[in-house]
């Protein structure tokens, strides 16, 4: 399940959008014990000014991204705008049965997008 973008193809400024990954939809629900799914989210939106500048409490902007947005606003060219990508991620844990009938708890880093940033 993904939150549809609002207004235009890229839906406003760069930020995290809701994306729920259901293990049932992926067909893993018969071997994954928990969770049933998780909020992975994704990044989308414009990285033009002022979205590229650091917002209150948001991830620090990369100077290069600000420079690119400035150049683009002055004279749009082939370099284009910076990209809206994950800037802060967090882990999930998955509990499942493996093929040796063991109960396994695995921890995976960088599975959930908490914040997006222009890069």
């Amino acid at each position: 399940e993904a939150q549809p973008s609002v207004g235009g193809s890229h839906g406003g400024s760069c930020r995290a959008r809701r994306l729920y990954v259901s293990f049932r939809e992926v067909g893993w629900h018969h071997w994954v014990i928990a969770p049933r799914g998780f909020l992975a989210n994704y990044c989308q939106g414009q990285c033009s000014l002022p979205a590229t500048l650091p917002g209150p409490g948001g991830p620090p902007a990369l100077n290069h991204a600000v420079l690119r947005a400035l150049m683009h606003s002055a004279a749009p060219g082939p370099a284009g705008l910076p990209c809206c990508v994950p800037a802060r991620l967090s882990p999930i844990s998955v509990l499942f049965f493996d093929n040796s009938d063991n109960v396994v708890l695995r921890h995976y880093e960088d599975m959930v997008v908490d914040e997006c940033g222009c890069r």
Binding site: G27, P91, F97, D98, N99, S100, R106, H107, Y108
Partner: protein, 223 residues
């Protein structure tokens, strides 16, 4: 054999360090409480659902199992497949049985480093043993080491009413040894005085390993 998972799912499985999707929950196996506890303490999204369990702002250290106090990102609960090895003559000092246990560790990857291996044994006493506290000595050795001197792991057991836990790493399992594909242990539970024998009802191994390939060096916070 199950049809191979479709391409994207197979790539995601591989990214999660799994070769193919396991066949599913075995009928005879429930999830041990310790694994539920570790999952609920570990999963940040679960933590968000029950903030009481996790102090606000606390983010679990990556590649570390806080509850067990060791480095690791994979915890396995492995059921023991027990075989009764030998019952001595009732009159012999070792009149109580010994057991050979087999743990299938073939699902552990060579790159995984063991950081904790806790044996959990449940005994059903024969008659009086279950009711009274007594004093036993548990000895554990790898099957290949039996007869080569005293058992590397010897532990006093005061009661058979609660599960008996024994740490194998550094005792019956050398610290820097890699994980074998199968672990064969020989157990003996000897009463210190002429007391009743215990009877092994269930054995399991809680194995914590660290797969360095799934650990990212901590990104330095921006100055």
């Amino acid at each position: 054999r199950r049809p191979a998972a479709p391409r994207p799912a197979a790539s995601l499985l591989q990214a999660l360090g799994l070769h193919d999707s396991p066949r599913g929950a075995p009928k005879s196996r429930s999830v041990p409480p310790i694994m539920w506890r570790l999952f609920r303490r570990r999963d940040p999204q679960e933590a968000r659902l029950s903030p009481r369990r996790t102090p606000p702002g606390a983010t679990p250290r990556p590649c570390h199992v806080e509850e067990l106090g060791v480095a690791g990102n994979i915890v396995r609960h492995v059921p023991g497949r027990g075989v009764r090895a030998r019952t001595a003559e009732p009159s012999a000092p070792e009149r109580c049985p010994t057991w050979t246990l087999l743990f299938d560790l073939s699902s552990v990857e060579p790159a995984e480093l063991p950081s904790r291996a806790r044996l959990e044994l449940r005994f059903a006493g024969e008659g009086a043993a279950a009711e009274t506290d007594g004093s036993w000595e548990l000895s554990v050795a790898q099957a290949g080491d039996v007869g080569a001197g005293p058992a590397p792991l010897r532990q006093a057991v005061a009661s058979l009413r609660a599960p008996v836990r024994a740490e194998l790493l550094g005792a019956a399992w050398a610290h820097n040894a890699s994980v074998p594909r199968s672990l064969r242990l020989v157990l003996a539970l000897r009463p210190r005085a002429a007391g009743p024998c215990g009877h092994l009802a269930e054995a399991s191994l809680l194995l914590v390993t660290l797969d360095p390939r799934l650990c990212h060096p901590l990104a330095r916070p921006r100055r």
